[in-house]
């Protein structure tokens, strides 16, 4: 078990990639804090993990609210005395090109995908400073390449990528023993993708799906568990010389 005695906070932990991470980290011995705005789903997941012999706690957290972060961190420190791993996984995708994206959609996307990663990373560093830790910020291949139908999402994920490097360098130079890396999933079969596609006009959705699948050399989407295992690697001491780095899991999408 690679995460024995580690306390791991995973935002957006109730479903999709976050849920897969919670399950995997718990299997590896971590105490998992399932943080999400979806209370029912999060409580059920934490309960399932505990019933299967793992250790999990649900905390309701809207990642865009700084005050809620403080409450969550206080509770974790009070209950467990430490925080070792933070995965800033919560995110939203509102489809839209640069022409049809509204300013409200743009700002909402930056708030959840980018501002929240800043808030979470900042507060985690404060908490981890003394004992060290690993922070994993979930970007996307959309933080590396352009997608015409995801202007706001592209911008928010690009921000996460380079912000992670800045934070990584700061922590290293300050001697904190906190590693910060970004994770870049390609297309994953999750509710986020399914919902985004469902909200598109039918012809757009069809075109999007055909174009995406045709562009994945491995010709399939990822399973959430395949992203969770990469996060596990970054979270573990196996990655102790990795900081400010990027881990891409995309079936070859960005290689071509």
């Amino acid at each position: 078990m690679r995460l024995t005695n580690k306390i791991a906070l995973i935002t957006g932990g109730a479903s999709g990639i976050g849920e897969a991470m919670c399950l995997r980290f718990a299997q590896e011995g971590a105490t998992v804090i399932v943080a999400d705005i979806a209370k029912e789903q999060g409580l059920t997941l934490a309960q399932n993990i505990n019933q299967q012999g793992g250790k999990a706690l649900f905390i309701k957290l809207d990642v865009s609210q700084q005050s809620q972060w403080q409450v969550a961190i206080n509770q974790i420190v009070k209950q467990y005395g430490q925080l070792d791993i933070l995965v800033n996984n919560a995110g939203i995708a509102i489809p839209g090109t640069v022409e049809d994206c509204t300013l409200a959609d743009w700002q909402r996307t930056q708030l959840v995908n980018s501002d929240a990663v800043f808030i979470g990373t900042q507060i985690a560093i404060k908490t981890m400073k003394a004992a060290g830790g690993s922070i994993i910020n979930v970007s996307s291949i959309e933080g590396i390449i352009g997608e015409p139908k995801a202007a706001a999402y592209n911008a928010s994920k690009g921000a996460v990528r380079i912000f992670s490097k800045s934070a990584a360098l700061h922590c290293a130079q300050s001697g904190y023993n906190i590693r910060v890396n970004s994770l870049h999933p390609g297309y994953v079969a999750t509710p986020l993708i399914a919902n985004a596609v469902a909200s598109m006009p039918e012809s757009d959705a069809l075109e999007f799906q055909q174009r995406v699948l045709a562009n994945i050399p491995m010709a399939r989407m990822a399973q959430s568990s395949e992203i969770a295992s990469a996060a596990l690697f970054l979270a573990s001491d196996d990655a102790s010389y990795m900081t400010g780095s990027e881990l891409i899991i995309d079936g070859g999408y960005t290689a071509h």
Binding site: L169, P217, G244, I249, D250, G251, H256
Partner: protein
Amino acid sequence: MRNSFNLDGKVVLITGAASGIGAKCVEVMAQCGAKVMATDIDEQQGLKTVAEFKTQGLDVVFCQHDASSSDDWDKAIAATLAQFNRLDILVNNAGIYIGGTLLENNLEQLRLLNKINIESIFLGMKAAATVMKPGGNGGSIINLSSVAGLIGVSGHSAYGATKGAARLYSKHAAVEFAQLGYGIRVNSVHPGVIDTEMGGQVFQDLVDIGLASSFGEAKNIVIGMTPLGRLGKSEDIASMIAFLSSDAASFITGGEFVVDGGLTAA
């Protein structure tokens, strides 16, 4: 759960396995459950290294192998199949470093670097994919590049050219193998400066080209450039390679994996 990056039952061929990163890969991957064919041009050192691992109970066999020789690849693959009956993972680790400034380098040096660092990767990917493809089991190939395959470094122009080639060669192979349905993943790993014999050559070269006054100063310069404030260890790289080899990385192909203590993030 047991070992998260389980290699139980997998057969691995690792080149340049007598010392440094290659030897550590043999140890880590065998500890993860793999059966390992360790190859190296240096038979004496290779046999010695493998003998040590065998005393730990690890399933490791040595084969003398010049990774830049096509005939030797036939021999190494045949030995692997004879011993283990299959091949699942190839780690193209064998490589050399030749420093010096571009003005000092000669064509012979460049050709030698290309022969050992790139021709070996071509021969290895071709030989391994030929075996992995028809079985339908697929496989994973990891090619050792370097941070010198990503950024410019004084004294590294010839070496870096081969490592840049290794990086993109991996992507081309990855895309082709995926699109043609071979089920073989190909990725490159990019170590920073690692505390090995080759790392020592890098420090000496910084002295030789006049960018450091002593070996110790050169080492301190490199450590100073590294945000984590230390050289890499062989196990830092071996654990990444073990991860990429395993089914935990089943959707990862054509990727480049930088393990450099933050060197290239700055």
